[in-house]
Amino acid sequence: MQNNLTAYYKPYMLLAPALLVLVVFFLGGLAFALLQSFGYFPVIGLNKLSLEYYSKVLGQREFYASLGFTFYISFVSTALSTIVAIYLANYMVNLKRKNKFIDFLYKLPIAVPHIVAALMVVFLLSQGGFVARIFFKLGLLNETAQFPPLFYSRSAIGIILIYMWKEIPFITLMVYTVMNNIHKRLGEAASTLKASPRDVFYQVTLPLSMPSIISASAIVFAFSFGAFEIPYLLGASYPKTLSVWAYFNYISPDLLNRPVAMVISIVLTSFCVLLVGVYYVFMKNLRQWG
């Protein structure tokens, strides 16, 4: 009996430290954010729960502009990164011998923090940057300032490029291993069944690695959707991404803006969860073979 009971509780005992950290600090943080978004903020004398701040935020035009801008950056960077990463992974899978140089090189950006990536891309692509100088020297531009503004602009091309520089290697890494296993296992069977290399990719490798492709790109999407530093540093002044907008409300000296900040971040979180959820449902339907 004693033994049975220990066996029953064993997984919970093993999980206890992790759950303690996650429940207290993660769920705790989430709960506080939620409470504050409903206007419960005893420190400044707000004790009643209300939807006042939600209606205030959702009623603003800036909210929709901000949501659209955030979605635009995440969607474009994730979609492009995913496509390029799949192309790259497939290229590596089809190499006859493993190219150690490529293998090392493409992983390098994964070890580079986003801030450093941002700094490097700015040095490269800003209006006074390296590329602008080359264009100027080649006579394509009359002065470096004619280089199209990629940063602080509503097109957010600079931000998207930074994300792509970071995320392509990450998705490639996650997808390559899976693709390579599938290709090794089933590629030969497919090619004796008259599948050309192209057929092998589209009919076998790609559909079977879809789950890992989707999970990698979902992680990337969620990250860029909620990321703060890069849009804060290099984003347009209007619209701001949701996270930046929330932060500006949070640091405002007027403490009454705190609940607004919480509303924005809760909305941000909800969209993140919703979109990733849609992603996963999509994946489940795709994987009907069980």
């Binding site: 030969e188 008259k194 069980g290």
Partner: protein, 372 residues
Amino acid sequence: MAQVKLQNIDKYYSGERIIKSLSFVINHGEFVALVGPSGCGKTTTLKVLAGLIKPEHGEILLDGVDITSIPAEKRDIVMVFQDHLLFPHLSVGENIAFGLKMLGIPRKVREDKVRVLLEMVQLPGIEKRYPAQLSGGQQQRVALARALALEPKVLLLDEPLSNLDPGLRDGMRELISRLHKELNMTTLFVTHDQDEAMLLADKIAVMLGGELVQYDTPFNLYNKPISREVANMFGICNYMQGFLYNGVFHVQGKKYFVPHLTIQGNVEAYIRAEHIDLVSSQRGCLLGVVRERKFICGHSMFKVDTESGDVTALVKNHLDVSPGSRVNLKIDWERVWFQSRGDGSEGLCDNSHIERSSKYKHHAGDGQAACG
């Protein structure tokens, strides 16, 4: 018609020669088994044939056409792998139709074909299921159907039975055998199980260490093995080295009369365990003491210490002789296969009774070729 010809195939892996100038021919409609211990290059040979591996040297001819540099997907050769390798994301029907779809065959034709094939492999009506929902035996049958769908000139089977339970294996073996008879498709079958090869194949190619050692019918492999390794593969065999002269086999001071043999010289006798009997009379027999006795399905295996060394005999079960007993071993010399030896000129010598009897009708009275 589909004849496959391998000529001097060499294949290296990281500097090591895995296949050593391999040559053999499979004629149209033949069922050939490639047998050998694991690591002898069987599967590599199959992949070379399928076009999945390119050999360093040599040519592969299909009906006289050199196909060595044609990629796998353009060869009229299909391979069935050891672990079925059905595509998990495709249904059974889609799996079987895969090759046809790659060729751009219209859907209607594909569907009809799938139905016919599923009936052929005795699994009608499971088109809509997914491979994960099938048993191991069913998966292997679907894999077979998938290969047959393409109506290849040559079918390659890489140990298709080795992952199945013994019961299922019999059924699958029969199915393969029956389909081969019906379709008369040139087939190369890799296995490490000699019995399976004997049961199924018209011809067996024995590979050892990347080399083709003997390529012959099951009958000849059993009765006229080229070496001890081959003899040991297809049953239990005893060896005696001696001297043949005037129809007498001299071995360690003993004489055995072999009047049917006219050849002379240093020879090694390959004596099958089942060609030795335990008898009561001592005339012309080998005397010994039983050391060990084991039952093998229908027979008893005796290990006997004799004056000519250890001898293994396979006899009927009704003999109840316990270890320690003295016994007389009678060898059926008419069935013994002799191989010449010595002076580095070892080789086959056409000398056995079996050889004579099979040729008897045509060449009665012909003299036997002398041993080297």
